[in-house]
Amino acid sequence: MSDSSAPPKSCPQCSAALPAEATEGLCPRCLMAQAMQPSLVADDVMSVTDPVSGPAGASPRGGGPDFPLPEELTALLPADTYRVEGLLGRGGMGAVYKGAQLRLQRLVAIKIMRRDQGRDHGFEQRFHREALAMAKLNHPNIVSVIDYGEAGPDYLYIVMELVDGADMMDVIRTGRMTQEMALALLPQICDALQFAHDHGIVHRDIKPSNIMLTRDGRIKIADFGLAKRYDVESSFQTQSGTGMGTPDYAAPEQFITDAPIDHRADIYALGVMIYQMITGQLPRGVWKPPTQHTACDPHWDDIVSHAMQSDPKDRYQAASEIKTDVSLIAPKCDADIPVRNPPSGGEAAKVENADKNVRVTPQSRAPLALGILTSVIILAASAFFALEKLKEEQAVGLPEAAPQRVAPPLTFAGHRYEFVPGEFAWGEAKAKAEEMGGHLATITSKEENEWLYATFGSKLDPNLRASSIWLGGTASASGGPWKWVTGEPFTFTNWNQGQPDYTTVSGQSAEGPHGLVFKNHKLLRWHDDPAFRNKSNGGFIVEWDDDGSAKPAPSAPGAVDLLALADVVKDTEGGLWRREGTDLTAAEGRAELRGRGIRLSLALPVRVKGSYQLEVEFTKHGRKETVSVILPLADGRSVVANFLESAGYAGLVSVRGFTTKDEDNPTRTPHQLVNEHRYRAAVQVLLNGDQADITATFEGKPLFRFQGPVADLDSRQFALADQARPGIKSMDPVTWHSVRITPLDGGTLTPAREGVTLPATRGVSPN
């Protein structure tokens, strides 16, 4: 689920790549989908039971012109039974309100529908039948129906359990869905579907926004059997005023008028949803299997493809079968030993050999793994809600959120490895690995070879003979000699004599140069790739010659540890910050600050005057977004130093008005960072009159430098409230391990607020 190379321009609505001929630059498919909505639909279709994260600006309480106000609806419902409190959402077919069931003193969701739906005479009968059937469906993962009836002459109502949570679409949209989460949620979803199907109820509109995630990490399927069944016989047979389903999740038979729709339509939709959970995208057109989108277990490919067969007969025939196959995918909790469990049946035979590299049997791992998973999900869920709530309240700094789960680094013999998915030529992969502070992986022992395959072999596409992952071996000219990029001796031999599929690398007569790749035939295979200049879509493995464990920064004498002085409540200007030991972690911030490039910002509690050096150590967790420090300059001016900006550049913002998005910014430098890697960076700011000399180093190497008038530098909207205070900021979660400042050349530090006491050292005024 990590992001790969820079994505093509894509539709923010459906994530699909925008075709060149997009209408007015908009996704034609989404435009058509919008146009397909019935004309009478109110546009603000919010998820039904989501009081937390409805779109801002929706009518806060009223039903709008089309639906009754809460107090009007209260009057329409049976006397003294419910009190309707506010509107949760409305759609083409009706509206959902939040209310209280007075006698039992509990909160409920009340859904109303117009009675004149499409002049469909069977509508009310079906509605009653469905509501009755639904009321009998008592399952922990299904939103339960409490009551139903007629609300005045114009409406029918259904009272349902109110789910205190968000819907899964929010989780996917905000990039929080992980494979681990999918593994924990899908069995519940399958159970609920199987249960309903066993009772003869088909949902017909399974999609992430109908899957509610409760605060304790459980799912509940909403709108079960309701939305679709009573409209019209076919979900997509629209007449005026009746709703259209969600075409993206609809099985092919749902597009055919009068085709029989059974539970296998839900299986199809579930397949689409799984695809979206794993890849973050919808499978459209000739879709690629999930493994080609993201580094994930190859069995997702099989599951998705099996569920999404066009002919219902070819699909899984029961939701429970999907659950079985999903349960065979082992979570990668111990990241150093990925487990490839074959699904039952024929697939098992195909991958049998590959599994010889698995060191721990699935049986022995499963219970432990599931235990861990459950807690991960609950933590993830509570973190999600804590953050969502925070966003709403615009509050700052409560320690209730669960800690971010930081994956342990993948290490072998004291070296760290990471797989980077994406399409690269060998030379590009080599350059990117070096930008990341490491190098393309080299293999110098049989054990390392086996470990790498056991760890990264699952990234290869088992269905594609050409699937390959770049490694750091290269032959500079035809016939070799082969070399490792690190200069280590290239002593690779046929370590695995008994297994003919292990092939040694030898000089080839094909025209060089070559890059070395991992190949997936039946087993790991070393192979030189004559198509070196072609891009491999399998990504690469980067290796760092250390184990990534925290290195205390050798900081300059006189450095002041600013992180220890910072206050996660008083000093934050955006986002939720937590202290964990000596680290400060910035979690999800305020979306409305996004335009200012801030979202997660903290003003360090000192004022700086004159020259100084700022050293930071951090680990980023989020997506490919901005990580920066804010550097005070002279005369209340400051400048932002980006170590990473979303387009993959470092540099100062802004220089003569140019941000790091502009080529004209002289400090703009291509730069990539990876998640869960502890980086060390320093920026030296030397001020001399109206001239500045700013040098940034990253992992001990020069990153960029600016020499020129201070007047050329201007952070404008990116500035903190007090421009004399240095700051740290990011767009996505980052853990800051240390932030130290050292006054240089007569520069001075003073406390920026009360309660800050600086150590007495050169250039520092203690208070």
Binding site: Q13, L31, M32, Q34, A35, D43, F236, Q237, F255
Partner: protein, 244 residues
């Protein structure tokens, strides 16, 4: 494909159900001919897309499209028998297939000295190259996809021009991303501010613009159908065409 090359609709003629006019017009009537010319003008690009895919040659496709429309409009004969029931889209595709079949036939006659070789277009849709390429869309799919894009572009143009006439061209530019849905297209608050509206007013304006766009797409599609009740079916097919 150049989006600009899709012709922009004449707003005055927008709400006329043009295909109905073609269908109802008496043979060789001026009214029918004009209505057909209108439609052909509007849906020129799908034919080019079809021929480009069929011939694998962009220049030849342009040339042949030109010849096709010239012949079609010169003849102006849409007899009831030829008329594919209901849809201009099917009619046009059928016509262009006939046209190239005739062209090939003629070419063969010349080559083979008049030998009559019957060619079924349906069986030889790849244009005789015989190289299956899964990434290559079929000419029919290319035609339908371009048709769907043309429909959207024409509807969008109407909405855009309406906004421009009301002096709201900037508003349209700012707000158009939300025509695709509610996903994050940027900061709505900032847009509201830029347009001098409250957040709620902006939301309402977006809602109206969407409704207008929706109506325009439906009207545009209805214009190519004999029976307006088929709009939903046609939309589903166009949506499917965009999914390929």
């Amino acid at each position: 494909m150049i989006p600009d090359s899709r012709s922009t609709p004449n707003p005055a003629s927008f709400h006329t159900t043009r295909w109905t006019r073609v269908c109802l017009a008496k043979k060789d009537s001026d009214d029918g001919r004009m209505a057909l010319a209108d439609l052909c003008d509007a849906y020129y690009e799908p034919v080019v897309a079809f021929l480009r895919c069929e011939l694998r040659d962009a220049d030849a496709a342009r040339e042949l499209s030109h010849a096709f429309f010239a012949e079609m409009l010169a003849g102006g004969t849409i007899s009831a028998a030829e008329r594919e029931r209901g849809r201009f889209r099917s009619y046009l595709l059928r016509s262009v297939k006939h046209f190239i079949a005739n062209q090939r036939e003629a070419a063969r006659r010349i080559k083979r000295g008049g030998g009559a070789v019957h060619v079924s277009l349906d069986e030889d849709a790849s244009g005789g190259l015989g190289i299956p390429d899964s990434r290559q869309v079929s000419p029919d799919a290319a035609f339908d996809r371009e048709w769907a894009l043309t429909t959207l572009a024409r509807a969008m143009e109407v909405v855009k021009q309406e906004c421009a006439r009301e002096g709201r061209a900037d508003f349209f530019q700012q707000v158009k991303p939300w025509l695709t849905g509610d996903a994050t297209h940027g900061d709505q608050g900032a847009v509201a501010e830029a347009c001098g509206m409250s957040a709620a007013a902006l939301k309402m304006a977006i809602s109206r613009l969407r409704r207008r766009f929706r109506d325009c797409v439906k009207a545009e599609i209805a214009g190519t159908l004999e029976d307006a009740a088929m709009v939903e079916t046609e939309m589903k097919e166009l949506f499917a065409a965009l999914s390929g």
